[in-house]
């Protein structure tokens, strides 16, 4: 089990400043700028590696990953219903947890670098593949395929959301340009990656602090969910990683993806497609509970679990 990556200290700083009601606030443009760089960098990193890879071999693993993205929300939904949540809220939270958090993935990448673990180059592709399916499952669970849902428009909106476009765009650019082609832009996207991630986490801490009171207001069930669902989902992620025969580093990343909850693509889509779901519930769980849990405790825990996986 590795040491704490110092980059998460920035999250704590933001959280502390927010809770103390400090004047510190970052303009939205700064958040946009750093998340733009992170998304493109993750995508390109994956794309560059894909360029040296036979793509056919990835097809099977990709299908497995999509299957996982469909499975996770289907498993989460009944548990959330049993916990007493209305149908719409249960479906929305299931979609958030079935989808992924790119920020958490970035912290996991930084963690692997810190502890010196390699991982498969195609993991960023899995981020894209996992982002979308759970959102559709969530909408189906809420709507039951009702005619009120404008599926065409919705699909367009989800597939053309900011994070999918930048991740996929980065992947394609990296794939077309290859490592040599991207040499010149290393400076901004790769050398600065961790510093940019630090600023991103500072901002996430500030935002999360504003949603923390929701964690208490919405009762112990939400808190328990936000803390217990991630490790359970990580186990499922590790199972899929074993099926694919991923390395330990790859398994940690897939477990982290499974355990992480979306706070960009899913909230936007749910607000449109399932407006009667309370967005405060799902944002509080994913942003104020699960995100910090994962970056502080989850990732090292999943690393430990991956090391102790039967036959791993």
């Amino acid at each position: 089990m590795g040491a704490l990556d110092p980059v998460v200290l920035f999250f704590m700083l933001g959280m502390a400043a927010g809770l103390a009601r400090s004047e510190l606030r970052l303009p939205p443009a700064v958040y946009e700028f750093v998340s733009l760089i992170l998304l493109l960098a993750i995508g390109m990193k994956g794309g560059v590696q894909l360029a040296t890879q036979p793509l056919g071999a990835l097809l099977f693993d990709s299908l497995l990953v999509i299957l996982m993205g469909l499975l996770l929300p289907l498993m989460a939904f009944p548990l959330l219903r049993v916990g007493g949540l209305p149908r719409a809220d249960a479906a929305s939270i299931a979609a958030h947890y079935g989808s992924v958090s790119v920020g958490t993935f970035a912290v996991a990448l930084s963690y692997l670098l810190e502890v010196g673990l390699e991982h498969e180059p195609f993991m960023p592709l899995f981020v894209v593949l996992l982002e979308v399916p759970a959102i559709f499952v969530g909408i189906m669970l809420a709507r039951g395929g009702s005619s009120r849902t404008r599926w065409g428009e919705l699909t367009r909106e989800v597939l053309l959301g900011k994070s999918v476009v930048l991740l996929l765009g980065g992947l394609l650019i990296g794939w077309i340009a290859g490592p040599v082609g991207l040499a010149g832009i290393d400076g901004l996207f790769f050398d600065l990656f961790k510093g940019v991630l630090a600023i991103f986490l500072l901002e996430m801490g500030l935002i999360a602090s504003r949603h923390l009171d929701g964690a208490l207001r919405h009762g112990p069930f939400l808190l328990a969910w936000g803390l217990l669902a991630p490790p359970v989902m990580a186990v499922i992620g590790l199972g899929f990683a074993a099926l694919m025969g991923l390395s330990t580093g790859g398994a940690v990343l897939l477990a982290t993806l499974a355990a992480s909850a979306s706070y960009i693509a899913a909230p936007a889509a749910m607000r449109t497609a399932v407006p009667e779901a309370n967005p405060a519930l799902s944002l509080t769980a994913s942003l104020a509970i699960t995100f910090p849990f994962n970056i502080f405790f989850g990732i090292p825990l999943y690393h430990w679990m991956a090391n102790h996986w039967p036959g791993g």
Binding site: L26, P27, Y31, R210
Partner: protein, 100 residues
């Protein structure tokens, strides 16, 4: 200077609705609108502007009274129940009535 009276409809709501509201305006026949970014607080809690998904927009449409009322009922019907939204109407004087 002869002035003509028109209605100014102002809507304050979630930033995420912008695209849909603009589509509604187009379909219901509005010929122009103005949008500014805003933050605020209401029955659905605080809406800060420092994160892209939590801000408000403030939408203004100047038009004939009948269209203003049609827009208001449309918004009430489609968004009041599930979204943070307020709207209000005022009389305004304009120079070129044919524009609105």
């Amino acid at each position: 200077m002869t002035m003509h009276v028109r209605k100014l409809l102002t809507v304050v709501t979630e930033a995420g609705l912008e695209r849909r509201l603009v589509e509604d305006l187009r379909q219901l026949g509005a010929r122009g609108w103005t949008i500014t970014d805003a933050r605020g607080q209401g029955h659905r809690g605080k809406r800060a502007l420092d994160w892209e998904y939590e801000g408000n927009i403030r939408l203004e449409v100047i038009c004939e009274e009948s269209l203003a009322e049609r827009l208001a009922s449309h918004f009430r019907e489609h968004y009041y129940q599930d979204y943070a939204m307020i709207l209000f109407l005022q009389d305004v004087e304009v120079l070129r009535p044919e524009k609105f």
